[in-house]
């Protein structure tokens, strides 16, 4: 599903002294099949934007007049489409949308609640039964849960355990399994690797690559970790003060390291090394993944594999 946003604006606590303009005319397109990255400072509107994608935050035009918050009058009409869902239209079936757009929040392990891993993972599956259709049988549920646990790299054996007996990294994977179990077409993750050790981070990114493609066609991640972005994303949008200031593939984006640094953002290690080498008169033209960087440095050195 293709995601198209035009002129998206959002204000928290409108018409009060606490009013904050979180989004200020965001326009962005994510093509189907992308591994899309969103970066930006805290408070730049990243999280607010991604919460729009499955209708957790609704466009004012999709709400009944009575329910529209005050202070929205001067906001131009926005466009937001996810596949065939028109999120500006009040008649959209938001439950169906949420089934198609999976959302993994920050620290998702804190949303686990059931007595066993199996039940927790099956929660979404049971909720999203369409009206008029038969409920999934226990065997179907068990099979789906097994598949989901398998793809996030967990052993089937833990299905009967309490989620609270697991380690932090395992719990996070259970939480991700609980979202992807319904096979959403788009998977949105807010800081999926935050707070994990380097190995845990790598494992999460590996599992996202396993999910991307067969399970979920499109993946959108919000991240602070530039290495993660450089290694994994097809394209990256840079948010700043509620706007998209740049949108480009990482290889292009990190070439202009200065403008990212000016925004107060970090750059990946490979970009830092490239800059350091440049100062010494060595120019390396890589796509900023570690693999490509090493290969090109070695090639320049002559010989080396």
């Amino acid at each position: 599903m293709r995601i198209v946003a035009e002129d998206l604006t959002y204000i928290y606590n409108p018409a009060s002294p606490f009013a904050v303009k979180a989004l200020n005319g965001v326009s962005l397109t994510v093509e189907e099949g992308e591994f899309f990255g969103i970066i930006g400072h805290t408070g730049s509107g990243k999280s607010t934007f991604v919460q729009h994608l499955n209708g957790l935050i609704r466009l004012p035009s999709s709400l009944k007049k009575r329910k529209r918050p005050r202070g929205w009058k001067n906001i131009p009409p926005a466009v937001l489409k996810v596949g065939d869902f028109d999120l500006a239209d009040p008649k959209t079936d938001f439950r169906a949308l949420r089934k198609s757009v999976g959302m993994v929040f920050q620290y998702p392990e804190y949303q686990l609640f059931a007595e066993t891993v199996k039940e927790d993972v099956a929660f979404g599956l049971k909720n999203f039964t369409e009206k008029g259709k038969a409920k999934p049988t226990d065997e179907e549920i068990a099979a789906a849960v097994k598949d989901a646990l398998h793809v996030v790299g967990l052993d089937e054996g833990i299905a009967e355990q309490s989620p609270f007996d697991l380690s932090g990294g395992q719990r996070r994977r259970v939480a991700i399994a609980g979202v992807i179990v319904t096979r959403p077409e788009v998977l949105v993750l807010d800081e999926p690797a935050a707070g994990l050790d380097p190995l845990g981070k790598r494992e999460i990114m590996e599992l996202l690559h396993r999910i991307h493609g067969d399970w979920c066609k499109t993946v959108v991640i919000v991240s602070h970790d530039m290495d993660e972005i450089a290694e994994n994303c097809t394209r990256v949008a840079v948010f700043s003060e509620g706007r998209v200031v740049r949108c480009a593939p990482p290889a292009e984006l990190f070439k202009d390291a200065a403008s990212l640094l000016a925004l107060g953002l970090d750059i990946p290690l490979t970009a830092k090394l490239t800059l350091a080498l440049e100062k010494r008169g060595i120019s390396i033209d890589c796509d900023y993944t570690m693999k490509d960087f090493v290969r090109r440095v070695l090639a320049r050195k002559g010989g080396g594999q």
């Binding site: 089934k99 804190y110 609640f113």
Partner: protein, 269 residues
């Protein structure tokens, strides 16, 4: 983030905001006493005009005040109806069985409604114009005499300020967990009461867990900073100023006035 009208600070700078919180609490108590002492509409009118002046000086928008009343609207209407129907009296307009609408009943219920509204508005004005921190500081300071009987005033104040501090955090957390479960298809809005209560289990369990986790972490953090509840200094010292003197005079005048009105004009019915 949802808004809670009752007890939310409205951040502007005004005469009322700058008053000493201790004074505001004492004034509130005095004001409530005055409302109950007032036995006729003249007394209530004096109270109401003082309150309206206070609202005007506080620069809190009128809509906010109305919203506070809306929270107890059901109670107000209920009280009014019961009293109109059951109060009884001499000048009867309409009666049916034990129900009876009389002039006295209408007047009395109007009197009760005004009292109720005044009570709600004056206490919400306190919370609109005083930060929770200032409020607990004020209460702590006012309770100091209890230290003589070894009452742990400081601990009580700390518990209060931690509880107040945690309310917005837990509210944010609830919203976040609710969103996360909504994204997994949870439905909080439809179904009968039983179904809706059940739908909240996936929110309540993680919320309770996180409350306990936060309490644990906070306790550890306080331990790590060697907190022992001993004598501590304050970042913001409370000081009486000329504003409080003006307010105190006004308060004294108010109570005297209301008492005089009660003595000279008598009861309403």
């Amino acid at each position: 983030m949802k808004e809670v009208a009752f007890g939310q600070y409205y951040p502007v700078d005004s005469f009322v905001h700058r008053l000493d919180p201790r004074f505001k609490i004492v004034f509130l108590i005095g004001f409530i006493v005055a409302i109950f002492v007032a036995s006729n509409f003249y007394g209530l009118a004096v109270c109401a005009s003082v309150l309206i002046a206070a609202i005007a000086f506080s620069r809190v928008p009128f809509g906010k005040i109305v919203r506070a009343v809306r929270g107890v609207l059901f109670l107000v209407i209920f009280t009014a109806l019961i009293n109109i129907l059951f109060h009884g009296g001499d000048t009867v307009y309409w009666s049916y069985g034990i129900l009876c609408v009389s002039k006295e009943g209408i007047l009395f219920s109007a009197y009760l409604v005004i009292r109720l509204v005044l009570l709600v508005v004056c206490s919400s004005l306190l919370t609109y114009t005083t930060t929770p921190v200032a409020l607990t500081d004020g209460i702590e300071s006012l309770l100091t005499p209890l230290k003589w009987i070894r009452f742990p005033v400081h601990a009580l104040a700390l518990v209060m300020s931690i509880a107040l501090r945690m309310i917005p955090i837990l509210m944010d957390e609830t919203e976040r967990i609710k969103n996360a479960q909504k994204a997994r298809g949870a439905d909080f809005e439809s179904g009968n009461l039983f179904k809706r209560v059940k739908a909240f289990i996936p929110v309540l369990v993680p919320l309770l867990l996180s409350a306990f986790r936060r309490a644990d972490e906070l306790g550890d953090a306080m331990d790590a900073r060697c907190y022992n509840g001993g004598h501590r200094t304050k970042y913001k010292k409370l000081r009486f100023s000329w504003r409080d003197l003006v307010g105190a005079l006004l308060g004294a005048a108010l109570i005297t006035g209301v008492v005089l009105l009660r003595v000279y004009l008598g009861d309403i019915v």
